[in-house]
């Protein structure tokens, strides 16, 4: 029991790397904090890891981040790997309180890839960068043998200008603060799951991939220091993001289950497959923590951004139960919402 509730640095004892280590949940955390950080960033052991690193150059605050993109299929309703590669890195900068300035991109291409497909993805990256208002200023290309990559892997690195009005830290989160989300959750993960074609379900869903910078900027503009913390809940979903926050701020999180916006199609697919929408990946949402007093103003700011119409206040911070996320149903039943263990696997039997 002690290992569950005492925060600290996990040690990495697994004999090999499994898919779960890349799924964004507990296993990923163990790998990063137990193996990678101790070797590469020994000074950061036990510290809170952010979506971006903060640097200072000539008195200017900069944020630096990198991300790599592996997705099957390459294209899915609402987007493609090219969109994800731009938006994902832009979003990591945005939630760090930075205005995205420029991106570098690396393409790892499998020999045999039709030029048409590559062209479409590069074009998607260009269009996504233009929409997000960020320049792609350089990159690298590698080609690997046929069968060595799922067609195309993309890695992007982004640099952004930190907004001095943003004071974001899990440590600044207080009991009573409110939790906001920018829109319906789970669209991306369920869209990709269905687009793989392994599951014979059809739904009129599309990925939510987009830049969340307009949302982050609206919050910084309108509530400034009352904005405590932001994340984009990608792999592992809102549940994993909030569990990380609960751990870092050492408070309890109470989610109002009915207040969380989820499309009927996503809820239906999740009910059928035994998945929890809170565990499903998003690629264009923001989770923000805002003081109680400023929460309505923050909600109004999010709803004014095009595409933010279904933003909602979904919960609050409490002194206890510490380091735990609890979902409350309308009839009063409560459940613990854990981080995801491994990939979400559909239940059938």
């Amino acid at each position: 029991m002690a290992t569950l509730t005492v925060p600290g640095t996990p040690t990495f004892r697994d004999a090999q790397i499994d898919m779960a280590h890349g799924a964004g949940g507990k296993a990923s955390r163990r790998l990063v904090e137990g193996l990678i950080v101790p070797h590469l960033m020994p000074k950061a052991i036990g510290e809170t890891l952010n979506d971006a690193a903060y640097l200072s150059a000539g008195g200017t605050g900069l944020a630096l981040t990198t991300d790599s993109f592996v997705v099957r299929p390459l294209r899915f309703p609402g987007g493609s790997i090219g969109d994800l590669a731009v938006n994902g890195t832009v979003n990591d900068l945005a939630v760090a309180g930075a205005a995205p300035l420029a991106l570098l991109c690396s393409l790892i291409i499998e020999a045999g890839m039709p030029t048409e497909i590559l062209k479409a993805e590069v074009a998607a990256m260009g269009a996504a960068a233009e929409r997000a208002g960020v320049r792609i200023v350089g990159g690298d290309t590698k080609v690997v043998e046929h069968g060595k990559a799922d067609g195309l892997y993309i890695a992007t690195t982004g640099i952004g200008h930190v907004d001095s009005r943003a004071t974001l830290s899990a440590r600044s989160v207080r009991p009573g603060d409110r939790i906001l989300v920018t829109g319906c959750i789970g669209d991306h993960g369920i869209t990709v799951l269905l687009a793989r074609g392994d599951i014979d379900l059809a739904a009129s869903l599309k990925s939510d991939t987009r830049s969340v910078y307009p949302f982050a900027n609206a919050l910084i503009e309108d509530v400034g220091p009352d904005l405590r913390w932001m994340r984009d809940p990608t792999r592992g979903g809102v549940a994993t993001t909030l569990n990380e926050l609960a751990r870092d701020c050492e408070l309890g999180i109470i989610l109002e289950e009915e207040a969380v916006p989820v499309r009927d199609e996503v809820r239906g697919a999740c009910e059928l497959l035994g998945l929890d929408p809170l565990h499903i990946a998003n690629e264009g949402q923001l989770v923000a923590i805002v003081s109680a007093d400023a929460s309505e103003k923050a909600l109004a700011a999010l709803r004014r951004v095009p595409g933010g119409e279904s933003a909602a206040i979904v919960g609050r911070l409490e002194p206890s139960p510490r380091r735990t996320v609890i979902a409350v149903a309308s009839y009063g039943g409560t459940r613990v919402v854990d981080m995801l263990v491994g990939d979400p696997l559909p239940r059938i039997c």
């Binding site: 509730t5 380091r323 149903a329 009839y331 039943g333 459940r335 696997l345 059938i348």
Partner: protein
């Protein structure tokens, strides 16, 4: 009607839980077994125990297909990949179940040809796409999933597909319930009957529980209102000294079951003389194998299966938990050596397993409250 929201209606939930409080005899302790793992999951997920008086004890039953599967079966299935280079397909439920040398997911990460499928028909499609490879579907589940396996085998025969076969671990629910009723350490007052299985077999097969063992049975759905209403129905029977089979889940469960599905089962499968269940031991006539006329699509007939017997780790008390003798947290390994991340037994793997449900929804809450 969305068939979900209505059954999570706070007003109806309150009504049912008030009715339960009115019906209970405070001088009496009630032990009610929910047979089905889906019910176990729902009871924890919706925190229904919070809504029940303390003298109603819900006992978790054996109705979680991956939980009752002995580890040796996973090893036998995986041995086909190593020895015969087959493509191994199975449901997501099985992917994380530990075998002696790791779960199917871990084998997959090491490069083994293992694919998760949503339907056995997807496995058949894979066989059509890879005519040069043998594709084995590792079939699992009670009568809930067995008809889809049966129909897939029939489809394979119709299409003349010879590189597809089924490794059947299908089990039947009634012998398991009988084994529990005959177990000497079992004191139960009533049963919440399984929901999904009953959509196929109907309500009739549970008659012996009410007639021979004099225990009420109420077949229930999976939402909070369903489960609470089924407990109301059970308490009314106990109050009146009756024991009959009742069907709370009648929006889905027909009294006589799904006849086309039952016919497909009878056509493709026959009962094995006996089959080993984790925790319950060998139970006669409790599992399904393909009939000899379908031997061509029976992986156990086509390939040499080594017959691996693997005993569960000694310290693990999966069997006692499966029979409802121990609560998950009373097992010596619970939350210490055995967690959802590093499971020792399958009950900690499946979302329907009593240990995983208890760990995720109860244990963590208790741990958080104590910190």
């Amino acid at each position: 009607m969305k068939f979900v929201d209505e059954f999570r209606d706070p007003r109806l939930i309150k009504q049912a839980s008030d009715e339960i409080r009115r019906l209970v005899d405070p001088s009496r302790h009630y032990r009610i077994m929910e047979v089905c793992g889906g019910h176990t999951h729902a009871i924890y997920r919706f925190a229904l125990a919070d809504l029940l008086p303390p003298n109603i004890e819900l006992v978790h039953g054996p109705g979680c297909p991956v939980c009752v599967l002995p580890m040796g079966r996973i090893d036998e299935g995986l041995s086909l990949v190593e020895r015969h280079q087959v493509i191994f397909t199975t449901f997501g439920d099985v992917m994380r179940v530990p075998g002696r040398h790791g779960s199917p997911l871990e084998h997959q990460a090491r490069g083994a040809q293992i694919r998760m499928v949503y339907s056995p028909l997807d496995a058949l499609k894979l066989a059509q796409e890879h005519p040069d490879r043998q594709v084995v579907f590792f079939a699992i589940g009670f009568e809930t999933t067995a008809p889809s396996t049966a129909l897939t085998v029939r489809r394979a025969r119709e299409l003349g597909i010879s590189n597809f076969s089924v490794f059947s671990n299908h089990v039947t629910i009634v012998p398991a319930i009988r084994a529990i009723l005959d177990s000497p350490d079992m004191r139960l007052d009533a049963f919440i009957g399984p929901g999904h299985v009953s959509t196929v077999i109907g309500a009739r097969p549970y008659g012996f529980i009410a007639q021979d063992y004099r225990k009420p049975v109420v077949i229930a759905g999976f939402e909070p209102v369903d489960l609470l209403q089924s407990i109301v129905m059970i308490l009314r029977q106990l109050r009146d000294g009756r024991s009959v089979v009742e069907n709370q889940y009648n929006r889905t469960v027909p009294w006589d079951g799904n006849l086309p599905a039952l016919r497909a089962l009878a056509d493709v499968f026959e009962l094995r003389p006996y089959f080993e269940w984790r925790g319950l031991g060998f139970i006669s006539q409790s599992a399904l194998k393909l009939r000899p006329e379908y031997a061509m699509w029976d992986a156990e007939a086509r390939f040499e299966v080594p017959g691996i017997a693997v005993t569960d780790p000694k310290a693990a008390q999966c069997g006692e938990v499966l029979k409802g003798v121990l609560k998950p947290h009373q097992c010596k390994l619970f939350a210490r050596e055995c967690t959802p991340e590093l499971p020792v037994g399958a009950l900690m793997v499946s979302s329907e397993g009593a240990c995983a449900a208890y760990f995720n929804y109860v244990h963590r809450r208790a741990g958080a409250a104590a910190s």
